[in-house]
Symmetry: C2
Subunit: 197 residues, 2 copies
DNA sequence: CCTTTACTTGACACGGTGTCAATTTACACG
DNA sequence: CGTGTAAATTGACACCGTGTCAAGTAAAGG
């Protein structure tokens, strides 16, 4: 099978991209860096991915598989009430962010000056937004949603609170630990979304 | 006075940078764009500002003067209780963001791949953080701060809530109006920071 | 054995920043 | 009125990273 080798190089590249970005999420990782790490020529990258943006997006999808997003989302999807669903979703996503941060950061940076990357990022974040809508809807169904929030606004608010930049600000700029971040953000989310007790 | 002409070109450049960035905060404004708009050669820019980052930072400081930050901060500084101070500060800053967004965006983008710009941005945001600390302290003095927040954590939380990226997410990605943004963010801030009523 | 497919090598164009040197403009002052 | 000095112009160039292209190599598979 000729496509076997094809596949495997592709995977090597994706893994290398991941590792490189994970290692230095701050510094901008070049195509040549990834190639070197993959033990492959820079041009081989372009054989598999048209542009850097495509490689980054592919890497982030690759992560979803490797890190098994679907399994991780089960608690949230199977929650039996709104508050549980909200908590489960927040737990999932806040735990996921640090693992994808390297790749996410690269995409975030790129989206600021590359329309294709912007679309890709919007697409990825759209998935998170859907999760937020589901949680907000579940709260609404329970009558637990604060009175001055529509489902849509609640979802948006949650989404904004859970943004990767937000995590970055809190942990990198403010120096919060991951625990502090999770605690304060989920607290803020609950206080903002739920009807006052 | 020879430095008069010097000054005035400098100001023309700053104003042009401002206008250019205001016009297209999304697209990356080039040095040549600014030069053209200022009716000056590209090299003239480098005569006044060593690098693009320096020009951007100077522009943001220029805005603070032109938009009269000090006056705008008076209500916050003279508030007689914590809640008033918090509200005044939020009103100031949320109103200020849209006005500086173009320049801020350029700096934010640049900070992701330029250490000098990162420092400049951190410096500018440090000023905002100080405002957050002052507000949090005022709340604490009133005994109005939520029990599970230290002054420092409260300030950080407020700062994160008020980040420019946050505003960008809400208004650009979610399509909130400025009014909606102000309403929901200040609501979230109050609910998160204050002792439950 | 010969074709096809995956990959390599090395060269190059492009866009944007920053640098440099030579030149021109203008205005202040003796 | 000229002259010296500071400010600005012009055009060329180096650098970096992305993306393109053409020619060559290596190996699997019929």
């Amino acid at each position: 099978m000729s496509s076997n080798k094809n596949r495997s190089t592709r995977d090597v590249i994706l893994k290398s991209a991941w590792k490189a970005l994970e290692e230095t999420p701050d510094k901008s990782v070049r195509m040549s860096d990834i190639a070197k790490r993959a033990g492959v020529s820079r041009q081989a990258l372009y054989l598999h991915f048209p542009t850097r943006g495509d490689l980054l997006t592919a890497t982030s999808r690759y992560l979803d598989v490797v890190l098994d997003v679907d399994t991780r989302l089960i608690p949230s999807r199977t929650a039996t009430n709104g508050l549980d669903r909200l908590n489960a979703f927040i737990t999932f996503w806040t735990g996921y962010i640090p693992e994808i941060y390297g790749v996410a950061k690269a995409l975030m940076v790129m989206k600021d000056h590359d329309d294709a990357a912007a679309t890709a990022w919007a697409d990825r974040m759209g998935a998170v937004h859907e999760g937020c809508v589901a949680a907000a809807q579940a709260l609404s169904d329970d009558g637990a949603l604060a009175d001055d929030l529509s489902v849509e606004k609640a979802a948006d608010l949650l989404w904004v609170l859970l943004s990767v930049r937000h995590w970055e600000d809190a942990t990198k700029s403010c120096g919060w630990s991951q625990e502090e971040y999770v605690y304060h953000i989920s607290r803020a989310a609950r206080l903002s979304l739920l009807k006052p007790a």
